[in-house]
Symmetry: C2
Subunit: 423 residues, 2 copies
């Protein structure tokens, strides 16, 4: 227990201690912090006060988590132990130092959260068998739903890192080339996206990287992952359909991706390890894990229309359903010698599970079955895809006995296409 | 004319003044420089000596070109004028200051060149109609060579920025999943790449970026490009073939891309403007240029086997053949609101032209027509694809009257797969 009060429903008890980057409202100075209850704890102030030894102390002086991410598991665990101690009810160091406490312990409402790291490269995978099967069925029919390589390797594409924004940042509906019915049949035109979707994903931040020309073994790959965030990979389905062959999604995805500000560490997630789905056919040896596991993380997506009183939950899924695991993602990414760097982000792809009530489907494309089954919202309206003014809210947490290790929220409101880009 | 001697065949006369980043051999300090004849000129030393006004002076204090790239065309042209003046035969400022000259003017042989910028995102396009037609013909036959969208938009995919290396850096043959004949038909296995290729490309460095949710008009897009480099987009064709559908190239491309160290500015290239191929069907309005043009840049690729006396030229092509132009690339990339940042790299894709003698083909896949027509090298050996020990040398230059504006070289030797990754 911490001397900082914490409700059982809070996402940020002493068992969590996620990392983020904040600034005081109105200030420019970006600092590393952790979350406890409804507070953030300023780790630069604690570092200044001599609470950490090197190299952690120096890493907590930075304005992004990249240096800390690069330190590796031993130092991450050491910092976590120090923080657990500092915040515990029994420890006087911070509890009884009102000066340090008033400097370092700030209400979350008084700070602005930023991207936790400078993200060098962003890769998005396609790890959910249910999602890939559903998308493939809509595209090619049930008999050829999975592409021939899908069960053999964790399919992925390189994404765009410049347009990754932190939760709370609104996004503008994009425009792009789409196929439209014209007098001579279907013709490409420039238009506002009409089929705007969210994707419920998680993102893994790379901690320790690997050198170019080297690979990371699947059984040590877990040690290269610093922690996880919620990720909404906004998708313009009509643009995607026309541009995607032969080189993959481009303008349909590169205009915005949103992540939650708090990186929940693998140490905090360890109590929620659970079996991962078994794989048949067996993976190639470089993808076979001696201790194959996943994490039991409840995930939900809600839509809140502009002016509505309450959001409607449209998805309830769980990370544990993913066919390919986080270590397999790292092992495959590096098998040919590609170097990962601290702060790189690896997205899981849409996390869907198949339930009779369609609650487990992680994007509207699946949920409305290609725009044929509308979703009813609490305000009485219906959705096939996102409308301007809609806010998408992702949430995630692990349920422990009497406490939650949570990710907070990843939210983003859809604004109209900018006037300057009107078509 | 410059007071620094310069042969007519040099790539770096006073008309060029490309930018790069160097360190003295054995030193760690990275500095911005330009090239003149067989010398580099240290622009930090000149900035220290008060040769530039702000904000250029501050930008030249950095260890990468990103800040300078961000300043925009007016400041780039101003810096170019100052440098032209400083290096001209008639100007005493640097010519007669032996102290400053000995500090700032260094033999290229005494310095090591580095990546010119911190590359945030790397995008690779597919701009050459000849290349796309040849690849499509091999894959789908001549009747369906171009994908349906190819004439309608400049096709592109997001690449990997972490593994972009500067010319001279050796690369290790990757391994990856490939399909192999087994007793039950074709099976995926992990193997060393057997079909290793180069791709002769150019890369455009983004100078001034654009904000997220905004677009860059095709007619001002040229002002957002800082300059060009040579780019070798190493490709593992066997890995590519198996992984590519549905999300595009991934491990086949992300293990290495090489660029030349010198960024030749658009001001230096202006005298070599030439018409770009006309487009039919007409592009959509957002891709129509009022002053459509390309640049006449001779490009060559050579292969030098290990131990051979001389390289063999395998490709002779030219940037001017590209169907889509550099401004069209920027306009399409940003049409949906994707933000480009200073230092982002946009690759053109393989630059091929069709000539009777097959000299214009920019990669071995095309050159050997999918491995069926061997290329004869000067040492008597033949190649279908690259062998260990082979060095690929790209060169590029614009021929003026009595001078060349050149890009120098982009070289890389293929080393064996690392022992630790042996399969």
């Amino acid at each position: 227990m911490s001397f900082v009060p914490c409700e059982p429903s809070s996402h940020f008890p002493l068992q969590n201690l996620p990392y983020g980057v904040f600034s005081r409202r109105g200030a420019h100075d970006r600092r590393i912090c952790t979350a406890i209850g409804s507070y953030v704890l300023d780790l630069k102030s604690l570092s200044d006060a001599g609470c950490f030894s090197q190299p952690v102390a120096a890493a907590f002086q930075q304005g992004t988590l990249n240096d800390f991410m690069a330190l590796g598991r031993t130092h991450w665990s050491e910092a976590r132990q120090t923080l657990t101690q500092l915040l515990s009810q029994e420890s006087p160091r911070l509890r009884d130092d009102s000066d340090l406490r008033s400097k370092a312990l700030l209400h979350q409402a008084d700070v602005e959260m930023h991207l936790p790291a400078s993200i060098g490269d962003y890769t998005d995978f396609y790890l959910s068998r249910e999602h890939a099967t559903n998308c493939g069925t809509m595209l090619r029919g049930a008999d050829n739903a999975l592409s021939p390589n899908w069960l053999s390797l964790p399919v992925a594409y390189h994404g765009r890192s410049s347009s990754i924004v932190v939760s709370g940042t609104p996004v503008h509906r994009p425009r792009g080339q789409v196929l439209k019915d014209g007098k001579d049949g279907k013709q490409p035109v420039l238009d506002r996206c009409q089929i705007l979707d969210f994707e419920l994903e998680m993102g893994a931040f790379v901690g320790r990287g690997n050198g170019m020309g080297t690979s990371t073994d699947v059984n040590s790959a877990g040690d290269h992952i610093f922690g996880l965030v919620l990720l909404n990979d906004w998708s313009a389905r009509d643009i995607q359909k026309w541009e995607m062959a032969p080189l993959g999604p481009f303008n349909s995805k590169n205009w915005a991706s949103s992540i939650s500000p708090w990186v929940v560490t693998m140490d905090a997630l360890a109590p929620f390890r659970c079996p991962a789905p078994s794989q048949a056919p067996q993976a190639l040896p470089y993808l076979q894990e001696t201790d194959r596991h996943s994490f039991d993380i409840c995930l939900e997506a809600e839509i809140l229309p502009a002016g509505a009183d309450e959001p409607t939950r449209v998805t309830l899924s769980n990370l544990k359903h993913l066919y390919w695991t986080l270590p397999q993602m790292v092992a495959h990414h590096t098998v040919g010698g590609c170097n990962l760097r601290p702060g790189d982000l690896l997205g899981t792809g849409t996390i869907s599970c198949n339930t009779a009530d369609r609650q487990g489907l992680g994007c509207l494309l699946e949920k409305t079955w290609n725009g044929t089954k509308p979703v009813k919202l609490a305000d009485g309206t219906e959705r096939l895809y996102l409308e301007n003014g809609d806010t998408v809210i992702l949430r995630g947490y692990c349920q422990g006995p009497g406490y939650r290790v949570g990710f907070g929220e990843c939210t983003g409101q859809v604004l109209p296409t900018r006037t300057s880009m009107d078509v």
